[in-house]
Amino acid sequence: AQTVTQSQPEMSVQEAETVTLSCTYDTSESNYYLFWYKQPPSRQMILVIRQEAYKQQNATENRFSVNFQKAAKSFSLKISDSQLGDTAMYFCAKETSGSRLTFGEGTQLTVNP
């Protein structure tokens, strides 16, 4: 079974600082897609950023960027200039063949004022 592992159940950061959330995964595929989702208390999963495995360049979306290490099967999320609204549960997910998403267990991020 394909697995996605997030080893940090909880993290906190001061407002305006930078934080990195870790994710590792297991796969035998050569091309696949990786995602980070944010889930605030409203429960709606919001797509933060997407990475295609065959692309060497790390994806960026405004304050969010990833460090994708394909050989190490590592996919970390960096949030720069953290804002109070970034407080949420963050899930790393891998898209399996057939477009099914396998999620990690999540990291609860708290941004402190």
Partner: protein, 114 residues
């Protein structure tokens, strides 16, 4: 564009009762998913539809859970009879299979079985 709609937002039932959840995906999205998210865990796929056909229901507890997607649009997930361990958030999501841009989620239904 309207997002994925789910109802109800909350439901409390007694064990052994039945319950149904409804989902309306984003217009034009042929793929629809139902995920179960137990408190403190990541979502786990229950069933995936492509149009009105089932692609994957290997994790669906078929003795008590059922799902349908009539006409390839709306979908209903039913639990009958419910158990205490079914208490969770049930998330519906939709996507365009070929584009591989991830799935778009609804706000979910929080089910409490007492």
């Amino acid at each position: 564009e309207a997002g994925v709609a789910q109802s109800p937002r909350y439901k409390i039932i007694e064990k052994r009762q039945s319950v149904a959840f409804w989902c309306n995906p984003i217009s034009g999205h042929a793929t629809l998913y139902w995920y179960q998210q137990i408190l403190g865990q990541g979502p786990k796929l229950l069933i995936q539809f492509q149009n009105n056909g089932v692609v994957d229901d290997s994790q669906l507890p078929k003795d008590r859970f059922s799902a349908e997607r009539l006409k390839g649009v709306d979908s209903t997930l039913k639990i009958q009879p419910a158990k205490l361990e079914d208490s969770a958030v049930y998330l519906c999501a939709s996507s365009i299979l070929q584009r591989r841009i991830g799935a778009f989620f609804g706000q979910g239904t929080r089910l409490t079985v007492v």
